[in-house]
């Protein structure tokens, strides 16, 4: 199971990378893409929309199921990855390279509540 130690995670199987400018980059984990199987559709929000933590932000669909992607923290969308929309299979190929959206967190302190790699590993192992 590929769970990079330099990223943060959520219980909902999103990964989060904090950038130098304070924004966060978000995708779904390798475990999530493996559970879903071949992705065929990704729907991302418009830039500028604000979301609360754990609110549904995006949808990823595989041949077999649809799954929501949630906001890791409260904040606004600053950028989306058009490649993920055009070629959803990039998420299967490398879930940590194929990010979905970037957010500007409303409060940087909220990021402290995210899981580290070992805590996320425990969630995956318990599932």
């Amino acid at each position: 199971m590929n769970i990079p130690s330099d990223l943060k995670y959520t219980r909902n199987h999103e990964w989060v990378r904090t950038e130098a400018d304070g924004t966060i980059t978000v995708g779904i984990t390798d475990h999530a893409q493996e559970l879903l199987g071949d992705l065929v559709f990704v729907e991302l929000p418009d830039v500028g929309i604000e979301f609360s933590a754990e609110q549904e932000v995006a949808v990823v669909e595989s041949v077999k199921a649809a799954s929501d992607v949630y906001a890791p923290v409260t904040g606004s969308i600053v950028e989306i990855n058009p490649t993920a929309v055009e070629s959803p299979e990039v998420v299967n190929q490398d879930a940590y390279a194929a990010w979905l959206f970037k957010m500007k967190p409303a409060a940087a302190a909220d990021l402290d509540a995210l899981l580290d790699a070992s805590a996320y590993q425990q969630i995956v192992d318990a599932a």
């Binding site: 199987g37 071949d38 065929v40 949808v59 669909e61 595989s62 041949v63 077999k64 649809a66």
Partner: protein, 346 residues
């Protein structure tokens, strides 16, 4: 792995989409041993099946011929869909779905007793007589089977579609559930893993339930429990072609079908917008509402397709809308056969 009618089955062996393409472009195989072969033998076997099934087994005049049929309850609902093979005089093999097998066997035994007919019903699932089934499908499927089973070639090379032949312990049918050419091979259960390994060695791609579902959906073939069940008439599930209401022959459910007639149109949908059609999504049209019964992403067409029950007034090439989450997305109505022998038909 998932539970499928009490059987532990793989959704895929790696990539569902690659498995799907292997069947459209080369050869793939499915372990369909969960399907239950039921032998019906005896002096009254034909009379029994003639009354039991909605399709007419009198169409089976040549040994080895296969017939697709629904088995109905008195209300005209579908208990199961199945294939019946005519083996020889007074001898038939019925292949039913896994999840319905126990219910089917009980229904068949009850009808046989009610009608006081002389036939035996023998499920080939347990013990030394247990049968396994491997479906090998795709444009290269038959060649691969001949390569692995050279002794069977003379028996099965000249088979027409929907015919079967015996070759030693093997029963080889030119049938399938993918819209491609190929065979379904029924064989003693203890020989199944050896054949599977040999086919894999010949380059036949193992395929899971996921690819089986997208392939049959593209082929416009119904899935029991999803596109029809005991509450649905075969006339509303696109199976009118398998039901003979004109001949004098009576069968279980006929009176109900005649009285009720067709109420809905079973058609295909191709999503014009981006997204994925799924079972139970509502369809909105100017002629009324409908419902998707099966939907997915078509790997061959690279867009989403579905089977749906729609108002009778909806016609091919109409545009309807499908409610997906909080949006209404446009879909084109088509004949429910999207892909056949590798070619997109809609």
């Amino acid at each position: 792995m998932v539970d499928f009618g009490g059987w532990e089955m793989p959704l895929h062996y790696g990539s569902q989409i690659e498995e799907h393409h292997a069947v459209r472009r080369g050869a793939g195989m499915f372990d369909v041993s969960h399907m239950c072969a039921v032998d019906v033998d005896g002096a009254d076997s034909a009379a029994f099946l003639r009354r039991l099934l909605a399709n007419n087994i009198d169409k089976l005049q040549v040994a080895g011929k296969a017939l697709y049929s629904a088995m109905l309850n008195e209300a005209g609902g579908v208990i199961d869909d199945l294939i019946v093979y005519y083996l020889e005089e007074n001898s038939y093999r019925v292949v039913v779905n896994a999840s319905t097998a126990i219910k089917d066997l009980r229904w068949m035994a009850e009808r046989l007793a009610d009608w006081q007919l002389a036939a035996t019903i023998t499920p080939r699932r347990e013990g030394a007589d247990a049968l396994a089934m491997i479906a090998v499908q795709g444009p290269e499927a038959r060649q691969k089977v001949w390569q692995v089973l050279p002794g069977c070639r003379s028996a099965c090379e000249s088979l027409q579609p929907f015919f079967a032949a015996r070759s030693g312990d093997f029963f080889i049918a030119r049938t399938g559930y993918t819209g491609e050419d190929g065979y379904e091979i029924t064989l003693p259960a203890e020989q199944a893993s050896k054949l599977w390994t040999a086919l894999a060695g010949a380059g036949v791609q193992p395929c899971g339930l996921g690819a089986r579902d997208t392939l049959r959906l593209e082929a416009g073939m119904n899935l029991y429990g999803q596109d029809m069940d005991e509450s649905i008439s075969p006339l509303d599930a696109g199976l009118a072609w398998t039901v003979d209401l004109i001949a004098a022959r009576d069968f279980v459910g006929k009176a109900a079908l005649v009285a009720r007639g067709q109420q809905q149109h079973f058609l295909g949908l191709v999503l014009k917008d981006r997204g994925v059609l799924r079972a139970h999504q509502k369809v909105v049209s100017s002629q009324g509402a409908g419902e998707i019964t099966s939907g997915s992403f078509s790997p061959t067409m690279q867009q989403s397709i579905a089977l749906a029950r729609l108002p009778l007034a909806v016609a091919i090439n109409d545009t309807v809308e499908v409610a997906i989450r909080d949006k209404l997305l446009a879909a084109r109505v088509v004949k429910p056969c999207f892909v056949r022998n590798g070619n997109v038909l809609v």
